[in-house]
């Protein structure tokens, strides 16, 4: 079976499927991230993934958690050696898959089930989990954010679904000249060995198709909250921590994953400011966040 290589957030990973699984077709949003050539020499991979439509070998290990998140029901088990068995089932339709992963998510087997129409979504879900959990101890985060770029810097809007992240970034595109959208839902954020925090586009972008192989140093984070007025302030360390942690894809029950994520967030907080914007969906709010985050006066 063919092995396909991708590079996201400067991490390389491979995905290979059995003949009935067309990886490139299922991962169409990953196309901008696919390597055109197989690496010649062995390269360090963030993880390796194998995909098939076989039945999983069966539930094993201790039950860790069952929960519903967005449109899926998750059932997580962990064996003595730390390896994971994660079953995902769509709440609305038949889409389902089982993911079997080593404790550090460097090796991931995905068993697709529940009808071919759900394969693409399930495989992307599995990929996001693998990416987030394998990257946890590599100063790499998969965050829930909408990101704009202006003058070479990335600005990430944070907040739970429905807070107006996308609305605020759309208003930046509308009111700030020379702005582009890097990602609308799940960008990658990394702290480099040069102590620079960078944001990267990814194959996952929520409802907005924005799958771009782009990167930029992070200028600032912006925690959003809807309000009947506009007001901005820079957050202190504790509040900033409380804003960033819930915005990261993380398994709270896993020490390696949680503390790794925690340490990355701590490092980020020492390098990049976090602002809190209570806002209306208008131009005045954009002006406020623009001036605070870029330090530049508003020109329009």
């Amino acid at each position: 079976m063919e092995r396909v290589y991708y590079e996201v957030g400067k991490h390389m990973y491979s995905v290979q499927g059995t003949p009935e699984v067309d990886i490139m077709a299922l991962l169409s949003s990953s196309e901008p991230f696919r390597l055109q050539q197989t690496p010649v020499s062995p390269v360090p991979l963030l993880f390796e993934m194998w995909v098939d439509t076989d039945e999983a070998s069966g539930e094993s290990g201790r039950e860790i958690a069952t929960f519903d998140e967005q449109d899926y029901h998750y059932h997580v088990r962990q064996a003595e050696d730390g390896s994971y068995y994660i079953a995902m089932n769509a709440l609305e339709d038949q889409a389902a898959c089982v993911l079997e992963a080593s404790s550090d998510f460097s090796k991931v087997h995905v068993h697709l089930a529940g009808g071919t129409e759900g394969y693409s979504t399930m495989l992307n879900c599995a990929l996001m989990m693998a990416y987030a959990f394998a990257g946890a101890d590599k100063m790499t985060l998969l965050m829930h954010a909408s990101v704009v770029r202006k003058d070479g810097k990335g600005y990430l809007c944070l907040g739970v679904s429905g807070t107006g992240k996308s609305t605020h970034t759309q208003n930046w595109l509308k009111y700030v000249e020379g702005t582009d959208l890097m990602n609308d839902d799940n960008p990658v954020v990394r702290v480099g060995s040069d102590n620079v925090v960078r944001v990267y586009g990814s194959p996952w972008s929520g409802k907005t198709p924005c799958y771009r192989q782009v990167e930029a140093p992070v200028g600032a984070f912006l925690q959003l909250k809807q309000a009947p007025y506009n007001k901005i302030c820079r957050l202190g360390t504790v509040e900033a921590y409380a804003s960033l942690m819930p915005s990261c894809s993380v398994m709270k029950w896993d020490r390696r994953d949680y503390l790794g994520t925690n340490d990355t967030v701590a490092k980020i907080l020492s390098l990049v400011p976090v602002f809190f914007l209570e806002n209306l969906p208008d131009e005045a709010a954009v002006r406020m966040s623009y001036e605070a985050m870029t330090g530049e006066p508003w020109r329009r």
């Binding site: 860790i64 958690a65 360390t237 504790v238 921590y241 409380a242 709270k252 029950w253 896993d254 020490r255 949680y258 503390l259 925690n262 340490d263 967030v265 701590a266 907080l269 020492s270």
Partner: protein
Amino acid sequence: MRMKSGFELRDICGEHIIVAYGAENVDFTKLITLNESAVFLWRQVADKDFQEEDLVQALCGEYEVGEEQALTDVRGLLASWRQVGIVE
């Protein structure tokens, strides 16, 4: 008594924050910060069984404080740790 498992003290840009993880703490959403003396006491009792008296003695040994005052402070601290559910 004993600190519950799954709580660790981390330094986040100079702030001392108790980080909660583990299957049993999935629903723990509080964020606890400690000041310098609370950090000192936390380190005395992490990963072992302890009594109120152990904290009082440790506090008196480290800081210039009378036993009576130390006891009051320790009781106050333990009450708040119990309230947020990090000691058992």
